[in-house]
C-alpha cells in the first residue's frame, strides 16, 4: 500500500513539475512563446491597444501577463485543473477540444507498437537464449544488431514508398478512411487498423530486435543461476522452468527498460505521425509550430508528457506485482 502511495506521489509530483516547466517555458523564455505570440498578434493587427493585446493573450494562453508571476502561475494551475489549456490561435477553438480528438490516436498506435515490440522481442529473445549458440541464435542476433541500427522512419519511408505508393497495398496517411463512420462498427475498426499498420509496423520492425537481444542476455544470465540448477534437480518440468523461472526472472529488468522507453516512444510520435500524416498529438505539435500556434503546442507537449507519466506510473505499479522484492525494501542507502 505504502508502495502504491509513494509511486502515486511521485507521478503527481512529476506532472506538477512538468506543468511548472511548461509555464516557465511559455512565460519566461526570452523570445519564447509569450513574446512570439505578442509579436504575432501585433503583426496581425498593428492597431491593437496594449490592454486589448493583454486580454487577447490572456484568453489564448490562460495566462494574464499583467498579474504578478505567482498569480499568473496560480491561475494557470487552476485553469489546468479544470481542463482549460487555453485557446488555439489558429483554429479559434479551445486547445482541449483540439487535442481531445487527437490524443486517442496517438495512444492507440504507440501502445500497440510498444506492446507488439515487447511481446515479440521477449518471446524471440527467450527462444534465442534457449538455443544459444545455434545457427538460429547467431542469425537472429545479427539481424537484431542490424535492425537496431535502422531508425524507424527510414523503414517507414521505404514502406510508404513501396507498400504505399508503388504497390498500393496500404494507405500512406490518415487514421481512417473518410468513407466509414467513426464508432463501434466493423468497417471503422478495420479501417483504423489498416491505417495504423504501416506506422506500427515500422516501429515494431526496427524495435523488436533490441528487445530480443536484451531478453536474450537476461535469459542467458538466468539460465546460469544456481536456482535454475536446483529446479532441474528437483525434477520440475521444462515448461515450468521456462515460464516460472527463466521467463519471469528475465522479465524483471525488461520491465524497467519498458519504463524508460515509454518516454522515448511517445517522444518519437512526433516523427512517426508526421511521416505517416497520422493525425495524433505529435503531428498537431509540429503543425502548431509551423502555424506559431503556441497554446496548442504547449498543450500537446503537456498532454504527451502526462501520457508518459501515466504509462510509467502503471508500469511502476505492476512492477511491484511481478517482483516481490520491489515493494518490500527500498534500496539500501547509508552514509
Amino acid at each position: 500500500m505504502n508502495y502504491v502511495l509513494k509511486r502515486t506521489g511521485r507521478a503527481v509530483f512529476t506532472v506538477w513539475a512538468v506543468i511548472t516547466l511548461t509555464f516557465g517555458l511559455i512565460r519566461l523564455l526570452p523570445g519564447g512563446p509569450m513574446q512570439a505570440l505578442r509579436g504575432y498578434l501585433m503583426q496581425q493587427n498593428p492597431s491593437i491597444t496594449t490592454s486589448e493585446l493583454q486580454a487577447r493573450i490572456e484568453a489564448l494562453t490562460a495566462i494574464s501577463p499583467d498579474e504578478p508571476i505567482w498569480v499568473q502561475y496560480g491561475n494557470y494551475l487552476w485553469g489546468l485543473l479544470h481542463g482549460d489549456l487555453g485557446q488555439s490561435v489558429w483554429l479559434n477553438k479551445p486547445v482541449s477540444t483540439v487535442l481531445a480528438e487527437r490524443a486517442p490516436w496517438t495512444l492507440f498506435i504507440m501502445t500497440t507498437g510498444l506492446f507488439l515490440m515487447f511481446v515479440i522481442g521477449i518471446g524471440l529473445g527467450a527462444f534465442m537464449a534457449y538455443r544459444e549458440g545455434s545457427n538460429f541464435d547467431v542469425a537472429t542476433t545479427g539481424i537484431g544488431i542490424l535492425l537496431q541500427s535502422v531508425p524507424f522512419y527510414v523503414v517507414g519511408l521505404v514502406l510508404i514508398a513501396f507498400v504505399g505508393y508503388q504497390w498500393e497495398l496500404l494507405p500512406t496517411g490518415g487514421h481512417y478512411a473518410s468513407s466509414v463512420t467513426p464508432g463501434l462498427n466493423l468497417p471503422f475498426v478495420f479501417s483504423s487498423i489498416k491505417h495504423a499498420t504501416l506506422p506500427v509496423g515500422s516501429l515494431v520492425l526496427t524495435g523488436f530486435g533490441g528487445w530480443a537481444l536484451n531478453m536474450r542476455g537476461n535469459s542467458i544470465r538466468i539460465l546460469g543461476e544456481d536456482y535454475l540448477r536446483v529446479a532441474r534437480l528437483r525434477g520440475l518440468s521444462e515448461g515450468r522452468i521456462a515460464l516460472r523461472y527463466v521467463g519471469r526472472n528475465a522479465l524483471l529488468p525488461m520491465y524497467t527498460l519498458l519504463l524508460i522507453s515509454i518516454g522515448y516512444m511517445f517522444g518519437g510520435s512526433v516523427i512517426l505521425e508526421e511521416i505517416f500524416a497520422y493525425p495524433g498529438l505529435g503531428r498537431k505539435l509540429i503543425q502548431s509550430i509551423g502555424r506559431r500556434d503556441f497554446p496548442v503546442m504547449m498543450g500537446a507537449f503537456l498532454l504527451i508528457t502526462i501520457a508518459v507519466v501515466i504509462g510509467v506510473f502503471i508500469a511502476d505499479l505492476t512492477y511491484g506485482l511481478i517482483d516481490p522484492r520491489a515493494s518490500g525494501g527500498a534500496e539500501r542507502e547509508s552514509y
Binding site: 529446479a231 534437480l233 528437483r234 525434477g235 520440475l236 516460472r244 539500501r332 547509508s334
Partner: protein
C-alpha cells in the same frame, strides 16, 4: 595412467568394497573438462562407498574438486563437464541403480526422491520471485506426491529445524535471513524423504554459531528420517564431530579415508596431518599450527606420481614416479590387509608420516615463531580510546518518507575501549552484532552518533570539524588504517599492484622520486614473500590468488606507517591452510612497524590465534555491545558470559571424542538490531536467563579502560546479585517467536 594404478591395487586389496550395507558405491569416478591445453580432470578417479545411515564427511580445500564430486553423485555435472566411471545406488530391499546410465525419466525420479542435494548459498538456490511454499508445492507436484500430505511433512520438517512453518512458507526467499533460508533449503531437499542427502558446504556462508546449530539439527534430522548424508566441506574441524567417517580430498582424488576419530588422532597421509596442524582451533597449542607451503596442482597438469609429493617433506623418488595406492593404515590392525579394514591412506610413507610428523610438536622445535620481545606495557601510550561510543543508523529514507518514523539500527550501543600501542585486540561476534561498525568507528572511518573517539587523547572528530588539538587531522587519518575482509574487493580491479601501492606513498610522501617509490613498493612486496617482486608489481588484482591479494592490502596499509590497523575479517576469506600463514605475517610485520591491530572476526579460532599469540585481548560482541573482554587465554579458558560459552561451543575443535550436542541457546536466530530485546540483550537466547535479565541490563564490570582485566557484563558475575533469586526463563515457546527476519 595414474588412475588405473590405483584401481588395480584397489581390487587386489579389496579395501573398500567389503562393507555389507552400502547405499552407494562409487568406482573410478572421473569428471573432466576440455580446456585449451587438453583435458582437465577435476575429479580424478575417486572410489568410495557410502554406508547406509552414516554421515560421511568429505573434506577438501577450495579447488580440490569436492563440489564436482557432489554433483556427480546425482549425475548433475554441468555441461560441458564429462563424467565417467560407475556410481551405483542400492535402495533398501530394491534393485541396484546405475546412476550414470539410467533413462532420463528414471533419473528424474531418482533425484530428490532417493538422492537429494543441498547447495551452499541457500539464497541463490531459491527462485527469488516465488514463495518458499511455491517451491515445496512445485516439487511435490513434479514428483506426483499428495499435496496435503507433502505440505504437512514440510511443516513438520521446518519445525524440526526450529523454524515457524507458517511464517517461512509464506515468505519470499529474500525475506529470510541466511540461516533461515539455509534451513528451509534443507527442509526442501528432504521433503520427498530421500535416502541419501548430499550437502555441498551447506553452512559455508553462515556464522559459526548458526553453522553449529544447523549441524546439530542435521544430526537430529539424520536420525529421525534415517538418512545417509554426504557432507562436503573445506572445514575439517566443523565436520569432524558430526561425521562417522571422513574422506580427505586433495588434488581431485581421495588421499585418506577412515573413521572420523581415527583420521583426527592418527591420520596416515602427510597432507591430512599438515591440514590438521594448519587449521586454527581453540584447543591445540599455538605453536603446533603451521601453514602448508606450496599450492595444489592444476587440473590440467596433474602429476603422474603422488599429487602431494611436491609439498611433502617425506617425498621420495617413488612418490614422484608412481601413484601411491591405498594402504590400510587402521590402528587396530596395522599393516595387515584385512576384510574389516576401514582406514586407508594413499601414501607409501604413512608409517614414516606418523613417526616423523607429530601432530603436537614442542614449541622450541618450531621455526618462524614470533617471539614477542615487546608487549604493551604501562609506558605505552594509548593510541585509540573509544568512550561510550554509539553508532545508530537510520534505515533508508526517501523524499516522500518524511512523515514516517525512521527505523533505527543500533549497530553499536555504548562501547568503551582503549587500545595502547603495540596491542592486539580481537573482537568476535556473529554477523550483525556491530563489530565491523565498531572497528570502523575506532579508526575514524565511521562517525559515531554518540560518545567520543580519541587518538592519543585527542578527540578525532572535534579535530576534523574544528581543527583543534596538537595533532593534525591528516596525521590521525594516516595513523589509522584498514585491511578488508574480501581480498578481491580491496584492490581496484583496474589498477596494477604497483599503482595501488604507490597511491598511499604519492599522497603522503609527494616529494619522493618515482623510482624510490617503486623501489619501496618492490621492497615491501619482496618482504611479504611476493617474489619476483617486479613481476607481481605489474599484475592486476585478478592475476593474484586470494592470499596474495590480502598481502598486497596489508602492504598498502603498512606503507602508511600507521599506529593502528583495523583488520576486518582479514583472514576469513582465505583457505584454511593459508590463514595461519597470513596471521603470522601480520604479527611479524607488527613487530617491525610498531602498530596495533584491531582484529575483527566471527571466528573464535582465528581471533584466538592472533590474540593469544601476541598476548593481546579478546572481546566478545553481541548486538552492539561488548559483553566480555580480557586477555585471550583467560577469556577462553574461563568464559564468564554465557554468550562466550555459546560461541565456544559453536567453535568446532578437532577433539576426537567430541559429539554434536544440542545448542546451549534457547533460540538460534539473532534478534533484529532495529528492536533489540530489553534488559540484557542476550536474555532471549541465554540458557541461564532469569526474570531479572528481561528488565535490567548488566554492565561490563571491572576496570575496562586500558586495563587488562577480564570482565563480563552478566549478573552471574556478581555473587550477590538479585539474579540468583529470580525465576529462570524456560519458556519453550519463545523459541519460535524470536525467529525474527533480518
Amino acid at each position: 595412467m595414474a588412475t588405473n594404478d590405483s584401481i588395480d591395487t584397489m581390487t587386489q586389496a579389496e579395501p573398500i568394497g567389503g562393507h555389507a550395507d552400502d547405499i552407494m558405491t562409487v568406482r573410478d569416478l572421473v569428471v573432466s573438462y576440455e580446456t585449451g591445453e587438453g583435458k582437465a580432470n577435476v575429479v580424478n578417479g575417486v572410489d568410495i562407498d557410502i554406508h547406509r545411515g552414516e554421515i560421511l564427511g568429505i573434506v577438501g580445500e577450495s579447488g580440490s574438486g569436492k563440489s564436482m564430486f557432489a554433483s556427480a553423485l546425482l549425475d548433475a555435472v554441468e555441461k560441458p563437464g564429462q563424467v565417467s566411471g560407475d556410481i551405483t545406488y542400492q535402495p533398501e530391499g530394491g534393485e541396484a541403480v546405475d546412476v550414470l546410465n539410467i533413462p532420463t525419466a528414471q533419473l528424474k525420479s531418482l533425484r530428490w526422491e532417493e538422492i537429494s542435494m543441498v547447495f551452499q548459498g541457500a539464497l541463490s538456490s531459491f527462485n527469488p520471485t516465488m514463495t518458499i511454499k511455491g517451491h515445496f508445492d512445485e516439487t511435490l507436484r513434479a514428483h506426483d506426491v499428495d499435496q496435503d500430505e507433502g505440505i504437512e511433512r514440510a511443516r513438520e520438517l521446518l519445525s524440526d529445524l526450529y523454524l515457524d512453518p507458517d511464517r517461512v512458507l509464506d515468505s519470499y526467499p529474500h525475506e529470510l535471513s541466511g540461516g533461515m533460508s539455509q534451513r528451509a533449503l534443507i527442509a526442501l531437499s528432504i521433503v520427498l524423504e530421500p535416502s541419501v542427502l548430499v550437502m555441498d558446504e551447506p553452512t559455508g556462508a553462515l556464522d559459526l554459531l548458526m553453522q553449529r546449530s544447523i549441524l546439530s539439527l542435521i544430526d537430529d534430522v539424520q536420525e529421525k528420517y534415517n538418512l545417509s548424508i554426504v557432507f562436503i566441506t573445506h572445514d575439517l574441524p566443523l565436520v569432524a564431530g558430526l561425521a562417522d567417517r571422513l574422506a580427505v580430498l586433495y588434488a581431485f582424488e581421495i588421499v585418506e579415508l577412515g573413521p572420523s576419530d581415527e583420521i583426527i588422532t592418527e591420520p596416515g597421509h602427510p597432507y591430512t596431518r599438515s591440514l590438521l596442524k594448519a587449521v586454527p582451533n581453540l584447543d591445540a597449542p599455538l605453536d603446533t599450527m603451521q601453514p602448508i607451503e606450496g599450492s595444489a596442482p592444476h587440473p590440467s597438469n596433474i602429476p603422474a606420481g603422488c599429487t602431494y609429493a611436491d609439498r611433502c617433506s617425506l617425498a621420495t623418488e617413488e612418490c614422484l614416479e608412481e601413484h601411491p595406492p591405498f594402504h590400510d593404515v587402521g590402528t587396530d590392525n596395522v599393516g595387515e590387509a584385512s576384510t574389516d579394514a576401514d582406514h586407508f591412506a594413499a601414501c607409501y610413507h604413512w608409517e614414516r608420516a606418523r613417526a616423523e610428523m607429530p601432530l603436537e610438536i614442542d614449541a622450541d622445535a618450531h621455526e618462524g615463531t614470533v617471539d614477542r620481545d615487546r608487549r604493551p606495557t604501562a609506558d605505552d601510550e594509548t593510541v585509540v580510546t573509544l568512550d561510550d561510543v554509539e553508532v545508530h543508523f537510520e534505515k533508508s529514507q526517501n523524499i516522500l518518507d518524511l512523515f514516517e518514523e525512521p527505523d533505527i539500527v543500533r549497530a553499536v550501543d555504548g562501547v568503551s575501549l582503549e587500545i595502547p600501542e603495540n596491542d592486539v585486540v580481537a573482537l568476535v561476534g556473529e554477523s550483525g552484532c556491530g563489530k565491523t561498525t565498531l572497528g570502523k568507528t575506532g579508526i575514524a572511518a565511521q562517525r559515531p552518533t554518540g560518545g567520543t573517539v580519541s587518538y592519543r587523547s585527542q578527540d578525532i572528530w572535534a579535530t576534523k570539524d574544528d581543527g583543534i588539538g596538537d595533532i593534525a587531522y591528516e596525521e590521525i587519518r594516516k595513523s589509522l588504517q584498514i585491511i578488508h575482509q574480501d581480498p578481491g574487493g580491496a584492490l581496484n580491479p583496474n589498477r596494477t599492484v604497483m599503482a595501488s601501492l604507490a597511491a598511499p606513498l604519492k599522497r603522503w610522501q609527494p616529494d619522493l622520486e618515482s623510482e624510490d617509490r617503486q623501489a619501496r613498493v618492490l621492497g615491501m612486496l619482496e618482504r611479504c614473500g611476493l617474489e619476483p617482486a617486479a613481476d607481481y608489481a605489474n599484475r592486476y588484482p585478478h592475476q593474484l590468488s586470494g592470499g596474495e591479494q590480502q598481502r598486497v592490502a596489508l602492504i598498502r596499509a603498512l606503507l602508511m606507517n600507521p599506529d593502528m590497523i583495523l583488520a576486518d575479517e582479514a583472514v576469513s576469506a582465505l583457505d584454511v591452510s593459508l590463514r595461519v600463514e597470513m596471521m603470522n605475517l601480520m604479527l611479524e610485520l607488527q613487530e617491525q612497524f610498531n602498530t596495533s591491530y584491531l582484529f575483527i572476526s566471527h571466528n573464535l579460532s582465528n581471533a584466538r590465534y592472533l590474540a593469544e599469540k601476541s598476548d593481546g585481548r579478546l572481546g566478545i560482541m553481541y548486538l552492539g555491545e561488548i559483553v566480555e573482554i580480557g586477555p585471550a587465554g583467560e577469556v577462553l579458558s574461563d568464559p564468564k558470559h554465557p554468550y562466550t560459552k555459546v560461541l565456544k561451543w559453536a567453535t568446532a575443535s578437532v577433539e576426537p571424542d567430541q559429539e554434536v550436542s544440542e545448542p546451549p541457546i534457547r533460540s538460534i536466530d539473532i534478534p533484529d538490531p532495529v528492536n533489540p530485546p530489553t534488559g540484557c540483550r542476550f536474555h532471549t537466547r541465554c540458557p541461564e536467563a532469569r526474570e531479572v535479565c528481561k528488565h535490567e541490563s548488566p554492565t561490563l564490570g571491572g576496570d575496562v579502560e586500558g586495563g587488562r582485566v577480564h570482565s563480563a557484563s552478566c549478573f552471574r558475575d556478581d555473587e550477590d546479585h538479585e539474579y540468583w533469586d529470580s525465576e529462570p526463563l524456560t519458556d519453550e515457546d519463545e523459541m519460535a517467536s524470536i525467529d525474527e527476519t533480518v
